[in-house]
Symmetry: D2
Subunit: 511 residues, 4 copies
């Protein structure tokens, strides 16, 4: 069986030597750096749970290319059931890590490139899809985690990629060689980048003919020569160095461990290139990826909501206000919002469809609705979590003060709640709520998988407004309503003439 455990995954990262910078230092061992470990643990959970009998049905799948049992994070969805299991997996992972577990980006990249390469080949007779299937087999065989690198830094947004003053604000082909291409540019805030085995790139937007060299997709090992990572600062990142308490979620971190990936004349062999100039397929690739990815947010973020709702409820309970009506009402509002997002992601999975490639895709209209709701409701439920948890979440003393021989005890005393609850447990939970509700998790919910403005454009386009106008015209009497005529057994005109006559002749009983 090719599925790694969590520990296997961590060990597997040791074999790679990506060039990573953080806080001005070159990182020697990703795995041993306490600043990165929580992210790695979160990603490791995607491996670990695939071995848990309780969760295996949703965490593992059977490969349609090899027939092998694989981790679902490397599986191209072959049915509606696959799509639904995928979002159940997302929610479960959110519940288990209370943060971003990073691996869905690569999964969505695999699925999107799979479907799009098939369509490119149909039009152009290219062989991208076969290449990609070979690559997919490798990914599944090694149980790799590839990062999905889409977002370019984009410079002046009123200008197209090829018109930018600084060309490297978009990743592009610098040179086409016989055996491959040379690429240059950068991808920004790529989730899980530093602890992935591979990078899959995709264009960040629709490209026009003039932007041909920017219509680009490929995969390379994470430690390919010329690739440099700069790890992002995160909210309260260095608290991981101040002990095990202040970080809030020292095991799994906060958000996904984003990094910039700078490509400095990187060589990509043709067998790893999946799009190289077919600009007319950039929309499809972007929208397919975005569709998958936006749908996930109704899974993972709802898993996080489960944790923060539970944490808030526990805090209220331990302070003696668990049954107070306004607290119950607030918790209920949180739950209602979380389940709303969950419903949207379930619906967009259940209402998925088969693409020409055989892969299943979610319902794109509803996937954008998922994400648009997330960009608002996550903020709202985290706001309520802060309301319930109280001002303490931002004024907690440090672990070091709690451990201080002179003041530690005195400080701890201030955190007594209901008798029988250890103050330190209350502090731990408050720190978790701080970690989840005050920090990078919120903008991530806003901008991950695209900003709300992007979702609105898709919703507007996909909503079938013309059909809606027709419905209204029919009811309002601007278009013929044949159903109505059948019901009344005559023409509409005849009907209304009769009605008018009846009224004039006072056949109406009421007045």
């Amino acid at each position: 069986m090719s599925m790694m455990t969590g520990k296997d995954y961590i060990d597997s990262l040791r074999a790679l030597s990506p060039e990573i910078y953080f806080l001005g230092k070159r990182i020697k061992s990703v795995v041993d750096e306490p600043m990165f470990q929580p992210h790695i643990h979160a990603a490791a959970m995607t491996y670990e749970l695939a071995h848990d009998p309780e969760h295996q049905e949703i965490m593992a799948a059977t490969s349609h290319v090899t027939g092998e049992k694989i981790n679902r994070f490397t599986h191209v969805h072959q049915s509606i059931d696959d799509l639904v299991k995928k979002v159940r997996m997302m929610r479960l992972m959110g519940q288990k890590t209370a943060t971003c577990f990073q691996r869905c980006v690569g999964l969505d990249g695999l699925c999107a490139v799979y479907a799009t390469t098939y369509d490119i080949d149909q039009k152009y007779g290219t062989t991208y899809h076969e290449r990609f299937k070979n690559y997919l087999r490798e990914v599944q065989k090694h149980d790799w985690m590839p990062s999905g690198a889409m977002t370019d830094s984009r410079g002046d947004r009123s200008l197209r990629p090829s018109k930018q003053v600084h060309p490297d604000v978009y990743l592009h082909i610098k040179e086409r060689l016989e055996d491959g291409i040379i690429v240059t540019g950068a991808k920004t805030h790529i989730t899980g980048a530093i602890n992935s085995h591979e990078i899959i790139t995709m264009p960040t937007r629709t490209m026009a003919e003039e932007d041909k060299d920017y219509a680009l997709s490929f995969a390379i090992p994470a430690d390919t020569k010329g690739v440099t990572y700069v790890f992002s600062r995160q909210t309260n990142d260095t608290r991981r160095l101040d002990g095990t308490l202040d970080a809030g979620n020292p095991k799994y971190g906060i958000v996904g461990g984003e990094a910039m990936i700078i490509f400095n004349d990187v060589f990509v062999p043709w067998e790893r290139v999946f799009m190289a100039g077919e600009y007319d397929f950039t929309t499809e690739l972007v929208e397919t990826f975005a569709g998958y990815h936006r749908s996930n947010y109704g899974g993972c973020k709802v898993g996080l909501a489960d944790v923060v709702i539970g944490g808030s409820a526990w805090i209220a309970e331990t302070h003696g206000i668990g049954r107070v009506s306004h607290i119950v009402d607030k918790l209920t509002e949180m739950i209602a919002m979380a389940e709303t997002c969950w419903s949207c992601t379930l619906a967009c999975s259940y209402e998925g469809y088969k693409t020409p490639s055989g892969a299943y895709h979610i319902n794109p209209l509803l996937a954008n609705v998922v994400k648009l709701n997330i960009t608002r409701m996550v903020y709202e439920w985290m706001r309520i979590a802060q309301d319930i948890a109280g001002g303490k979440i931002i004024t907690l003393p440090s672990e070091k003060d709690l451990a201080h021989p002179e003041v530690g005890k005195m400080v701890e005393e201030c955190f007594y709640g209901k008798d029988g609850i250890a103050p330190m447990d209350i502090i731990r939970m408050l720190r978790l709520i701080e970690n989840m509700s005050v920090g990078a998790g919120l903008p991530e919910a806003m901008h991950g998988a695209g900003s709300p403005a992007a979702q609105k454009i898709m919703i507007s386009r996909r909503s079938g407004i013309d059909k809606k106008m027709e419905l209204a015209k029919r009811i309002a009497g601007l278009s013929p309503d044949t159903d109505f005529e059948r019901i009344i057994g005559k023409s509409e005109k005849a009907h209304w003439d009769q009605v008018r006559r009846n009224m004039q002749e006072k056949k109406v009983q009421i007045y």
Copy 2:
């Protein structure tokens, strides 16, 4: 085939002679009264579309009791697919009538009594379920529309039913006879009551032992002796008498045509009694009905949203502002909310389950989420519709003024929009938007199928808050995290000790 057409249905009502009052008059013929006709047309649409080849798959079903093809509005759901088709039917019906088509209340009553009687019999060895199946066969055979009568008027809400000063504020058993029971009391604002063939009653709340006589469910023909209907005033009801324009939706009306049903010593034979004292099953019956019914609102009201969104878009278009950014944004917000509600109802259907009776039930948590969202989002999208449509919707002149020989033409001139659009078409559409967004439809979205406070109670109860607390405790380190220990390959304690040691010994690289 037992399925009636729309016209058959209307004709079938002539055979009944219910005692109905409205505006102080006893109504002789429901079918001929222009005040009631729009509601009857809307209900007729549920019959008519079952014969439309385009929609038959979702409008018709195969009876599990007779094997006959029946109208889905009389079908007890036998699968997830049935549940999903039911909500598709709801949305379609909303799109086709732009109002309440009334027949889902009886459907939900049938399904809820079906499942509950099975469970009562299991506990008490009664034969309610068989009785009910016989009744169901009749309903399907005749393609009846039964009204679902649940809400009592409830008097002082701080007192239980049996403690009320005025006992008739709850419907109850007055006397138990050998061949049946005598009931007295009233049910309030019952949708479609005056144009239904039958009445199915259900208790309005959980009853305690002292309220035994209020734990009551039965079915009787709509024109049973002792039953009196008083039809409700609706927003702008008498405009139906002022011509065909002012009513906005003269074909199908506004909301469902609610009526009070007063039971004055009504005799019900035992074979039509489905609960008579089993107070411990009132919760199940109420919640099962409420679950089904609340889930519908994400169907029908979204169908209405489709119409009002289309109408608003058309109005914007005809006034030359269809492409203005704030208009597009507002339409997109409306769509996003409508599809959110739709997603919730799809999800609660897809996530349904089989009850012991064999009938399928929706997911109750999500059904309550559907309805809670409806109580807010309908208001919001109708608010936006009013924003787009403009102040004209509440200041339109009357049809009679438009038809006036002297001023009619002058008035019509004021309604020119984009060249080529007939002012009268604009007026028609504005009247439709008025009908849908300014009036009874909004409180109906609030209180139909139960008020938001009721939904919140159900959401709070069904949310599994204890499991969520456990998730949070695990992440925060208050409970053991075995997954984490497997990932790190040692005990948590050992891990954190190591981390602390590393830090003290400055093995941390970053600082």
Copy 3:
């Protein structure tokens, strides 16, 4: 003293003979028509309360042109105190009528034309202001209620007035004569038009040079030859003919009694013309009027909120749920929103300023904020009123059924609440809540004084965004922060260099 009482006002209308149409009939006597009486009563309240010693201080004022004591509704504000009293008067009037009392439109028209004519004269040496002052003296002397006619029907909104296919969609000068002008066109949904003594017109938007003939303001008696009124249908208007209960607020109506005013070659003498082609002052006139008028909504609508909050609280009380936590919370939310709107209108009055004409104007930024909030919060508080009041508000039986000898008593029984409360009182209050929350009042809150999009444009323009950018640049270190340099006693550069040095030299204590 020139102040009329309510009764005087009603009698004064008999002297006029405007040409009014409604429901296809020419109205002979406005005052005697039960469809119009409630509006007239509401307007009469503006007269009546000026004689009430309790309210006289805010209802009356001293004319700056005559020194006489006058009704504040004819007073041009001469101080901040006047502005504040004006909004107090608005709230009081809303509390006393629970609807639109109409007379503020004319007041705002008087004030806006007063200030603008002064400025036109300053630039062009015209004598508009003197003419207008003479007119104002007449208005005050007779205690007239003029309607303020601004909104044109506007046709295709993507075209300027002079480019419309149908020119009469904007009121304009058709001919300039020696002694006056001939105007043609129409004004739509003008509040209080049919029961005003006079009409003051104003342009509906900024005009360009090509639209010169549309840059127009004048005043004429309400029954001037060529002027035709078509009264609008309102929500449930004909209920006024069905008795005294169903209308909900039979005394004062619902919204303001809007009418279209059609001008068919109407002659206006020069002494009553206040703008005739000075297109460069249309923006000022429109914005000044809009500023005053938008600020009012935080007064009158909050007065209505007081009533509907009180009514909702009373209904909850009488049903035994007055102390239930979710009810208290909902009432509190309503109050908080109402007081927010009230605060905005107070602030925009207190922060007013003196115009060159000597008249005081409100703060335009805040006035637009008032109205934008109103377009949302009124909907929200009315939504909550519907939530608290329950489904009954849209399913109440008619007065005639309640009076019916056979069913009346039975129906009334269904409305028992807490013991000791008469069911009929409950019904009355529910009808009032229906009147206020389900109907024309909401779109009126949206579009009266201009639509939200208009308010947003004004807010955006008036917000001083450049100054805000400068603040941010200063804090972010993009601009010099001289305050900071004074605080630290050296240059910023020197400071940060020192900080960096300290850190490098580990002079920092913490780590």
Copy 4:
């Protein structure tokens, strides 16, 4: 003149030696610790601007006790004008520091104790007020910044102070001596505590007779023996040690620098005790303080809004999307919310009143409305700031990486926007927006000056719901409407009888 400059203030802190702990260390010099400096700068701004001729009118005042010119932060408001100037000062300070400047808590403490001691003395013949006036003279003379210490940690919130298992969760009198009292307990998250000259304590809630020893108010020097401070961790606090960029607002910090203050058998001489057992005045003291303090939030937070709106606008501008419609709309929404809060605080100041002590107090209902709005709108506008600024705000590289000789240049290139804008300026502004919108500032807006539940209780209590019920009863016809009778010139009954008669006799024209 007794007013210190910013620099004077900083120097004055050197004279104190409070016992402060942070990150496990005893702090030697508050002023020299880079972790604390930003907070100190922010507080210093309150001193500095009082010397700026441009702002002196609102930053300085004339003492009513000494006649001296003093910093307004030590002034007890003597007029409405003082109240309004105070909130203008708040907004200005927010604009100048983009964070909490801390000194308003002490100011509000001074004002609240001033008014309450007067009232206690009136009832009990005590001399608290004279004592307090002496203290106030000292504060003004030295231009001290006292911290206002109100919040206790409160333990089990379902138990009263005197019933707690751990008595020290509320500060209380342990012993009464001849010359003073001994107090013990703690106050939590006290703003500006470590850089204040004095501490003023107040009870955190209403006390009953049994809680007499908790009804306590006094003032002591910040470095009194037995007082220990533990400084709170803040969002991204240690970034201040990583250079000058990552902190976002390195000059003034983020929130107010909260600390726990632990009182360990602290002696307070009687002349500094202002309440010691008068439990019946705890409500007044708490509510007076809360009223002042809640009103401030519509000043300071709006000042912050000005900065973050400006910053967001600048970022949009520099990325070429400054004129895109959805950006303009979002900025406008931010502005509208900010000005709404500002209006509320202006209104509650303008509508203030004189207390028996002579001090002016704000309108308490409106002050609570201010704060309730703040607990929602700050979140919303910061959410929008994050939307506009983009995902970059949480994935920015560290300053050290930007300064790295190998990767720094490459990283900076990714931050190009519109040509001509330095990437580093963009990074600075993004960091500022991160600082303001992602972190402790939000929960501070929620809980500072009390949580929303507290505000709701006050709003509910102060709203005059009975008067509102009366208004509704009058309109609905449940109470006599004398105005109406005057208007119609007869009794209501006579009027409606007439109306009914007219209708019956078909005197109504319309139908």
